[in-house]
Every structure is written in C-alpha cells, then in structure tokens.
Symmetry: C2
Subunit: 333 residues, 2 copies
C-alpha cells in the first residue's frame, strides 16, 4: 500500500473498494424510498438520506458478502435493508430524544412534525421488510427479525434506564447492543449468510459486528464527555443533559464517595443541573479513572472484533475490517 | 339455527366457534409480548391487550385457515402476528392523533409518554416479524410485508390529506386501505395461504378482507357523524375536530354551493371551528344526500365482500363471514 492508503480512514478505503456496489445500493434506496401515493414520504426520507452519513452499515454487509465470495445480486438488497432499518430508527430516536439536529441539519421532527417522523419511520421499516423478503432467504429474515427485536427492546430499556443510577454494566451492554451492535452484527452476518458461508464463518462475522458495534458505541459515549482528555467535541454533555447512564457515569458512580453520590443523584436522578455540573462530573470521572476504564473497555471490544476475523476467509477487505476496529477506538486516544 | 344464534352477532358466533384456537392465540400473545430485559414493554402492552378489543383480525385468520381445511399449528402464529401489527399501529396512531382514550381507557401515550408508545410499538412490530418468520412461509412474509407498507403509506397519506379539501375519493380509498383494509385482507389471505389453498381461493380471501375492511371503515367514518340519522354516537365529531376529510365530507363538498364551500374551507382547511359548526356540517351532509351516498358505498363494498366468498370452499364459517359483512354495515342502518 502507498502513502495515501496508509493515512486513509478504513471507511474511506471500504467506500473506494465498494464504490460500484454502493452506487447500486444508493439507487435501490432512492427507488424504494419513493411512494406513489404519499409525497410526504420521499420529502422526509430525502432530507435524511441526502444528508449522507457514513453508510457504514451497508458497507459492512457488502464487505462481508464479498469476503465470502458472493457473486449474486442480493447483498445489495440486504445493504439497502440495513440502511433503511438504520434510517427508520434514527427517525424514531429523534422523536424520542426530542432532538433538533442530526447530521448537521435540523431533524425531520423539527422540519415537519413528530407524526411524520413516526409514520415515515414505520414506512421505511416496512420497505426494509419487503427488500429482505425479496432475497428469498428465511435465515436472513430470521436474523433481521431478531435484530429488530433486540433494537426495539434496547431502545425501551434505554428509556427506562435513563435517570436510574441503579443501571449496571450488564444493562448498559444490553442498551448498547440494542442501539448499535445488533444492527452491526446483523449487517455482517447476513452478508456471510447470503454468500452461503459455513456456520463458523457466519458466527465469526456476527461476533465481529457485535464487538465492533459495542466498541463504537462506548467510544461515542466517551466522546460525549470529551473522549480523550484533550478534545472537547461539539456535542459534549448531550448525554449528561439527557441524564443517560453511560459507561463513564457507571464507572464513576461505582467509586463515588457519599458526597459524590449525592451529586450524581441530584444531576442524573433528580435532573437538577446547574452551570458547572458538567465540568464537575467530568472531573469526578477523571479522578476515579472512569474515562480510562471505559477507554480500556472499548479497546478490549475492538481487540475481540479483530480476533473474530481470524475465522473469516483471508481477503484484502478482511484487513480493512480489522483496521476499522482499530479506527473506531482511535477516536478516543 | 335456534333463536339465540339468530340474534347473536357474527363476531360472537366466530368467537364461540374459534374459542380453543383464540385461547391459544391469547397465550402466544402474552408469551411474546413479554420482555426479559425491559419491564416497561409488558406494562404498556398489557394495558392495551387486557383492555380487550374485539380481536376481529386474528379471528379472520383462524376462520380462513379453517375454511381451507388447515390442520397445522401456524394459523395461531399468524393470528397473533396480525394482532401484534394491529396493536403496534394503535400505539403509533394514538401518538399521531394525540388521543387520550382507547377502548374506554386512557391511552398509553397519556399514561406513560409518547416515547414509550413509539418504542413499544416498534417492539411489537418486530415481535410480529419474528412470529411470521417462524411459519417458514416466504409467501406469507411477502403478503405481510406488502400489507405493512400499505398500512404505513396510508397513515402518512392520511396525515397529509387531512385538512385538504382537494382530497378525492381515490385518495380516501387509499387511506382506508392503509388504515383498515390492508390488515383485514392480509389476515384472511394468509389464513388461506398457510392452508395451501389454491390461488383462486387465496385471491378470493384477499378480496373478501379488502372489501370487508373498506365497508367497515366507511361505516366507522359515517358513525363519526352520527351514522344513521337516528343515533348520535359518543365519538360524534372527532373526525370533524381533527379536520379529517372522510367520505361524507368529500360527498358534501362535491355538491357544495359557493357559500357552503367557504364554510368547509373555514372549518376543515383553516381549522376555525365554533359552536354549531358540527351541526351545520351534518345538516349540509343531509341536504346533499352525502350520508346516504356514503351509506350506499359501504353497502356496496359489503355486497362485494359477500360475493368474493362464493369462490371460497363451502363451510359453516363461510356463512358467518358473510353475515359479518352484513353486520359491519348494519351499524349504519
């Protein structure tokens, strides 16, 4: 590899390697998000789809299928399916979180209304369902049905776990699987399944996606508190204000003194937050090594993701997936 | 049939004939609405499920399967699937309509919050998806995927068609198919498909469900304006206040004088409603025969539903389905 490849982000390497197939995925997405009867649907979806996003999930499906030697057309359907499910959950998430911005633009719930976001999300979910039925694979349908249930269950769990300092690492992991890892692991697994890969390979692809998703989400949760001690991101403190009990909070609360515990009860459980509370929370996390412990956890999941790839056929894209696991945690170095 | 059977409502006759299988459906629903991890889920679903409802849709699936001679176990899965989809759409509808009451109880969005209704609806939809995958029938999955898309599209269409006096009968029919007929027709069709019925029979079962659903919804829309000129129901005027453009309105607007049109523009498009406007709207509908024309339309669809049953195998339950088509429009006599 030349110098350019060395510095390119793994997702950009993936995008370049899969550009033809991703173009086919984009065409299919545009075709299927249309609605003959209800013009509101393409308006809302175009707003979200045109804003872009990294399209990491469909690339994972395409990469897994290609690594397993697939030559049929249905990995494109599955990649579009996965992106539709992702987009549907974003629409519903923004209603639930009362978000105002997504991908640098005002959210659909703000531009139109919550009603449109709920119903267009339902529409995209049903369209994803039609796409996966077209593959004719019951095994694929089973995987995506189970992933959908895990996603929905994790979202409800996040709702009830928020504001509850009793939330432990096991519940946090369940939430993370629901909000991120379940779709990552389904995306990689169905790529192997549609290629007819052996059980050991599809299991390894599931494992890779699961671990990658968990590493990705823990890193995201760290970035919400500045990530590395160096950089303060523009979204710093969103989770704190929404009183979400993420891994850095769980780890800091586990080591809290009586006085510190009272602070956490006030800001997270009672939601009485004042200026300076976020800075104080971050100072407590540093004092107890909560940030570093969460960083270690994310790196551990990334290592497990790379490890899982050992059972997957050797292929240039396998190395890119391995690099991707490193990359998602490099954001918190 | 004795006197009791003569006066019994067709849905009660269905419930009695299918009581064992409906008990199995109820058990499956209770089992699958549980969530190991998120206790909020069974709380919300139990609230809605225990409130009852007529469970007409699952009975249609069971009846269709039995008429076609099915002896396997999967019609119970499909009946539960259909009820889950119905319950999921009710949860989302109540958020969209900002409803406060459903089945004589406060709605979930009022008791918990909109967030819970959105996410638990998603959960039920994903559970319905798992149930249908268990049947192992790609044809069933295709039918239910298409029904889901029609439902979601119809809901969005209803949102944008509301407050728009340009809504014609074709768009109204599309909305009605989405909100009611698509799930009725999928319910009856999958009952035939799981039984391995021939194409002509499954098509007739689809047709029956479609026409029954449309007749049912037009009757509901009539009842919202008092239905028969005699009785004023307790929900009279809900659609008027929500500015929905239903069939009686469409038919009255089509015959409106200039002055009357200005009235409709004010109350439906501009939403400026005052005391006496509902009564005036109802008077205009009577004056132009809009109620009678809508009643004729509903009766026409019910007749088409009965007609479709001619292609379905002779069976005691076939007569009950025919009676049911009569019954749904008897409410507006």
């Amino acid at each position: 590899m030349g110098m350019i490849d060395k510095v390119a982000k793994p997702q950009d390497v993936l995008a370049a390697a899969l550009s033809d197939e991703m173009a086919a995925v984009s065409r299919l997405i545009r075709e299927r998000m249309a609605s003959e009867h209800a013009p509101r649907i393409p308006e809302v979806t175009a707003h979200l789809v045109e804003a872009g996003g990294k399209r990491l999930r469909p690339m994972l499906t395409l990469a897994a299928a290609r690594i397993c030697g697939y030559e049929g057309p249905y990995h494109v359907h599955l990649a579009a399916t996965v992106e539709f499910i992702h987009t549907a959950t974003l629409l519903h998430d923004d209603v639930v979180d009362e978000s105002a911005r997504r991908r640098g633009r005002p959210t659909a719930n703000l531009l139109w209304d919550n009603k449109s976001s709920v119903l267009v999300g339902d529409y995209l979910f049903s369209r994803s369902f039609q796409l996966m039925v077209e593959t004719g694979s019951l095994r694929v349908l089973d995987i995506l049905a189970n992933a959908s249930a895990t996603i929905a269950e994790g979202e409800v769990l996040q709702l009830t776990a928020a504001q509850d300092l009793g939330t432990g690492e096991a519940v946090y992991l369940q939430v993370v699987r629901g909000k991120t890892a379940a779709l990552f692991s389904a995306a990689t697994e169905v790529g192997g399944v549609i290629a007819g890969a052996p059980e050991a390979v599809t299991r390894a692809l599931f494992e890779y996606g699961d671990c990658l998703g968990i590493a990705f989400q823990i890193a995201d949760d760290l970035l919400d508190y500045g990530g590395s001690s160096a950089a303060i991101g523009k979204n710093t403190g969103d989770d704190f204000r929404e009183r979400k009990v993420t891994l850095p909070v769980i780890k800091a609360v586990a080591k809290a003194s009586t006085e510190e515990r009272a602070f956490w009860v006030r800001v997270i459980e009672k939601g009485q937050q004042a200026d300076g509370d976020l800075a104080h929370a971050m100072a407590l996390m540093e004092r107890h090594g909560a940030m570093e412990a969460a960083r270690d956890a994310a790196r551990g999941w990334a290592a497990k993701a790379r490890q899982a790839l050992m059972a997957v056929p050797d292929h240039p894209l396998r190395q890119v997936l391995s690099d991707l696991a490193d990359y998602v945690v490099s954001r918190i170095d």
